[in-house]
């Protein structure tokens, strides 16, 4: 019988000796080149970190290759970041250049530090989710292929954090990203009345709906969906596989901008709607890639140094954001959920665009 409740392995056993020696005693750090951090301890010890991107979805054999690299160059010590990057931790400066050389030869992007676009946080999409409105890994790959140079160079006004969630349940909470890419369904689930009575429990299906949009039809042992109330979360499909929500022609992607999580300069902010809908166009989602690239380029051309995307927009105004990016403003952009009126303009202070 296996032991339960043992918790994760104690992280302290995985800290390289230089980190154990300098734990809580780091003095400063520098980014010596994109993807390379140099941390200096109070006693003068120097730790190098080499950061590379991963596709998040990793095969065990690829992980073993990463282990080989860490054993060759870092005595087997490495860590991962909250954004799916891999960090090799080196106490020996002379190993940094050979490691980078081997990483680049093996096509690992080295970068993601400072004023760059680091790896995208994303969800499972069609690879493993049951309520996705889009794929996750595919759009991420297509977008990062296009923005690759912004990962390997620190050529932007500030950090740009791009995230993708494949439906509004946001198991990857993307709601505070500089650019959030969010899969959306636009049509309610369709109860399959022939299968539903056999595979679903009516009260549970009814109760699964967060907006109370599902009514039991006891006579026919099925359910009915109130289209007005449905907000397309797919929770009913989770408990009742006989009410699919996926709709190839109406599912797609929305784009949100200007969020941030850090408290630096401005307070954390939610992302706001920029583009309500773009189609799912696999395998490379050209409309989505073009839209993201456009936003990044307009931002890079107009923002001041250290200004995050949302800080830039707040300074110039949303009306100018829409003009500069050429993105169409629609009635979808005007909030109609709770507290919507707090977002309406109550002053004559606005710009012409």
């Amino acid at each position: 019988m296996a032991k339960t409740d043992i918790g994760p392995p104690d992280y302290k056993q995985f800290l390289p000796p230089i980190i154990r020696d300098n734990y809580g005693k780091w003095r400063y750090h520098e980014i010596v080149r994109p993807g390379v951090l140099k941390h200096v301890g109070e006693n003068g010890d120097v730790l190098y970190t080499v950061r590379v991107a991963s596709p998040r979805l990793l095969s065990t054999d690829h992980i073993r290759e990463i282990c080989d690299l860490a054993e060759t160059y870092c005595d087997g010590f490495l860590r991962f970041t909250s954004r799916h990057n891999i960090e090799f931790l080196l106490a020996d400066e002379h190993r940094v250049a050979p490691l980078i050389e081997e990483l680049q030869a093996k096509n690992y992007p080295v970068g993601g530090t400072g004023h760059s676009i680091t790896n995208m946080v994303h969800t499972q999409g069609w690879v493993h989710c049951h309520t996705p409105a889009t794929d996750a890994s595919g759009p991420v790959k297509a977008i990062m292929d296009e923005l690759y140079d912004h990962f390997t160079h620190m050529d932007l006004p500030a950090h740009v954090r791009i995230s993708l969630a494949c439906c509004l349940n946001m198991c990857g909470a993307v709601h505070c990203s500089d650019i959030a890419i969010l899969g959306i369904h636009r049509t309610p689930p369709r109860p399959d009345n022939s299968r539903l009575p056999n595979v679903c429990e009516l009260p549970t299906t009814v109760a699964s709906c967060p907006t109370g949009a599902i009514r039991a039809d006891m006579k026919n042992k099925t359910v009915q969906v109130n289209d007005e109330k449905c907000m397309y979360c797919g929770n009913c499909y989770t408990v009742c596989p006989a009410m699919p929500i996926a709709d190839p022609d109406n599912d797609g992607i929305s784009i949100w901008v200007g969020g941030k999580v850090s408290n630096a300069r401005s307070a954390p902010m939610f992302s706001k709607l920029a583009i309500p809908f773009l189609p799912n166009n696999p395998p490379r989602w050209p409309e989505v890639v073009a839209a993201v690239k456009n936003i990044v380029e307009v931002y890079a051309a107009h923002a001041r140094k250290h200004e995050r995307l949302g800080e830039w927009i707040e300074r110039v105004g949303w009306e100018r954001f829409f003009t500069l990016t050429g993105i169409a403003f629609t009635d979808k952009h005007i909030d109609d959920f709770t507290l919507a009126t707090e977002t309406f303009r109550t002053t004559t202070q606005f710009k012409w665009g």
Binding site: T4, D61, V127, N263, H306
Partner: protein
């Protein structure tokens, strides 16, 4: 290429960014399940919809958490992914590994699963992607033997996560790793045996840069901060200026509180610490010259969440400053009081922030025993619908 069964996915092997398709193909060389995953994904790319169904399987004896049941909706075409469950493995705090531990995980997953993983999932767990129902318990047994345990899912405490903290950051005001690890170990039962109204997330960031998005993504955010003066090394400030940093333009002018003045004449930086809100911008720009103040602790915020159900919330300040030293008794006692109030009053699938919104912050504060302080609000209320507690009213006897 003409004979490829996956022409759409093959397109995503091109380009400089690492390709997830290559990963699946690599696993597919050994594992029929990975091969069928690839084929089913190609169908999704063709149909433009997903092909998974959910199942409520939990599968590990004694636990109600850590496994996500997944089934193909086309088992006729893809029999090797008929069942393709996820196991969430609680990551080592800070995502630090030694390769022998990672290799053990790989060996276990090659033995029991598809050979595919996510390093890491959104909550922080190491995700083992795709196995059958029969393999869940043996896989867990092997994980346990190797020193690993499952993470949270469902109406449970989710795997807590922490930034890199004092292990590799000069800005760390608290030991985010130790706090996170101690919370994880202390609250094991809450992680594995879901008994809450809904999910509960704890994240620990050691400074206001918030590298684990604690304010945006957790019901309870622990944020390192300090009191007192920013530590200044005047020689290093001058060194930044000498090296060409525009201290007035890039530091002082961007300070949200305008609490800093740079005098070009005598090349000194004056900080009016009483005005500082500790946003971290100046420290971020001049890490060599400026350091957090010496009296360190944490601000505690609660209520953050993604949209489901009633909309996204950012966490709210409830404790402006708490000293955090092992064994963190004050913190863990507060967490227990907060969770107990939520568990008592929350409706099913109501997150802490939504409950506070429904019942009122003053009721929450009274129940968990925290005093109201101005740091909790952006500004005081503007509406006149003010309620007083019964004991605050001078009740006259009716004659």
């Amino acid at each position: 290429m003409t004979d490829s069964k996956t022409p759409l996915l093959d397109e995503l092997e091109k380009g400089p960014w690492p390709s997830f398709v290559k990963e699946i193909k690599q696993a597919a060389e050994k594992k029929p399940a990975a091969a069928d995953l690839l084929n089913q994904l190609e169908l999704s790319y063709k149909d433009r919809i997903g092909h998974w169904k959910h199942g409520g399987i939990v599968g590990v004896k004694g636990y109600g958490s850590g496994v996500i049941g997944r089934y193909s909706d086309r088992p006729d075409l893809f029999p090797n992914v008929q069942a393709f469950h996820t196991m969430r493995v609680n990551h080592p705090t800070g995502w630090f590994y030694k390769t022998d531990a990672l290799r053990k995980l790989c060996d276990i997953w090659d033995k029991h699963g598809s050979g595919l993983t996510n390093l890491h999932g959104s909550t922080g767990d190491a995700i083992l992607l795709g196995t059958t129902t029969e393999h869940l318990q043996p896989c867990f047994d092997d994980l346990s033997e190797a020193g690993f345990d499952l993470g949270g899912s469902g109406s449970a405490l989710r795997t807590p996560s922490a930034c890199v903290g004092p292990a590799r950051c000069e800005w760390a005001c608290i030991d985010s790793l130790d706090i996170c690890y101690q919370a994880t170990m202390t609250l094991q039962d809450q992680i594995h045996r879901p008994m809450f109204p809904y999910k509960f997330k704890i994240k620990v960031s050691a400074c206001a840069n918030d590298c684990v998005s604690a304010i945006a993504r957790s019901d309870l955010a622990i944020m390192g901060t300090w009191k007192g003066r920013i530590q200044v090394d005047p020689a290093e400030v001058r060194a930044y200026a000498d090296a060409g940093l525009d201290i007035r333009g890039e530091v002082c002018d961007l300070c949200p509180t305008k609490c800093m003045e740079w005098s070009e004449a005598d090349r000194t930086l004056v900080i009016h610490d009483g005005d500082c809100n500790r946003c971290m911008h100046c420290l971020n720009v001049m890490p060599k010259a400026l350091r957090p103040g010496k009296e360190r602790g944490a601000s505690i915020l609660v209520g953050g969440k993604a949209p489901i159900v009633q909309g996204s919330l950012l966490s709210w300040v409830i404790v402006p400053f708490m000293k955090l030293e092992p064994p963190y008794t004050e913190l863990f006692d507060l967490i227990a009081r907060i969770q107990d109030w939520w568990d008592e009053n929350g409706r099913s699938r109501e997150r802490l922030g939504e409950l506070i919104n429904r019942l009122g912050m003053r009721h929450f504060l009274k129940a968990v025993g925290l005093p109201a302080v101005p740091q909790m609000v952006k500004h005081p209320r503007t509406n006149p619908y003010v309620f007083f507690w019964p004991e605050e009213i001078d009740k006259k006897e009716v004659k």
